[in-house]
Amino acid sequence: MKRLVTILLGAALVAGLAWATPEDDRKAFIEHYKKRFPDVAVEDYVNGVYSIDEEAYEQWQEIEEFAPYELALAEGKELFETPFANGKTYGDCFPSGGVGIRQNYPYFDTESGQVKTIELEINECRESNGEKPYKYKKGPIAAISAYMAYTSRGEKLNIVIPGDPRAQQAYEDGKELYYSKRGQLNFSCADCHIYNAGMMVRADKLSPALGHPTHFPVYRSKWDDMGTLHRRFDGCNKQVRAKPLPAQGEEYRNLEYFLTYMSNGMEVNGPGARK
């Protein structure tokens, strides 16, 4: 009898894990941070590490007065509005003319069966209009993405995972990558940004994962430049001594899908400025 109860409990546990929906995951995510940082309001996590570091928050507020991303923002606006050689613009490729739509990215495209990010669609737009694609981690694509994020400030992330099993799989794949230990240092994204958020790594405080995607692309002082979320994924992988995966490859797009879903309902406040 005791054995039967154990088996049933085990089966229930396994079934429970298998049936964890994205929404279950997101709620558990938020509860984790509520317990870890009980004094931080959930909506404040859009400010990344500054939500859990008061002193750094003050410094950041001063930096924002003369935001280092402003030049990129102006460049992005100009690029966004300048017609291609065929006379069309980015606005012709996106819903609502590409303005105020950042909160809906990434999304699962049932036609192509893959996750689409805003940077991927910027390049798809270029190619469909006879232009060469940009490199994905920095430069013009980060500037355009920054401008598109800026026009979406205040809108709440609304990532949808449709019933399509391919979308569910993309979400699960992203989740697997987030929680898998990688590299010579044997660290996962979760090790740093969930379980050790707030701890110091050398001189830097580890930021919480909740709210991470709201403020990308970012201007990082370390880069002295703007960078996309996939540039940051690339950097994180290198830091744990793993060979990074391709920016805008399937793995990182699925990772972005999972990570952004975790911040659903939070306000877009990109572009951001970070150390």
Partner: protein
């Protein structure tokens, strides 16, 4: 007496080891690096390659170009071992990641 024999034994082993290292030649280097490359490719296919491996293999190639095949063998052996560990990491994480999910 026993101490002297022990010292003599260790000395002989040291000479033999040094001889084998010095004797490392191009075929030994080629064999070690081919094995390292095979392991690196397998790790890359699993998307678990470490970024420490290629620099080791590059240094091995430089050592061989300078005629130091022994150093080349040593570096490629290290690269192979690292890739083997990363392959084991990939296999382990295929299931282990689930236990880390926030619940």
């Amino acid at each position: 007496m026993r101490k002297n024999r022990l010292i003599a034994g260790v000395s002989v082993l040291a000479v033999l080891w040094a001889g084998s290292v010095l004797a490392a030649d191009e075929p030994a280097y080629t064999k070690a690096c081919a094995a390292a490359e095979e392991a690196r490719k397998m790790a890359a296919e699993l998307r678990y390659e470490w970024n420490t491996v290629e620099p080791l293999m590059k240094k091995a190639s430089e050592a061989a170009a300078a005629g130091d095949y022994a150093k080349g063998v040593k570096l490629c052996d290290e690269a192979r071992k690292q890739s083997e560990v990363s392959i084991a990491q990939a296999k382990h994480q295929a299931d282990a990641w689930r236990a880390a999910v926030v619940k």
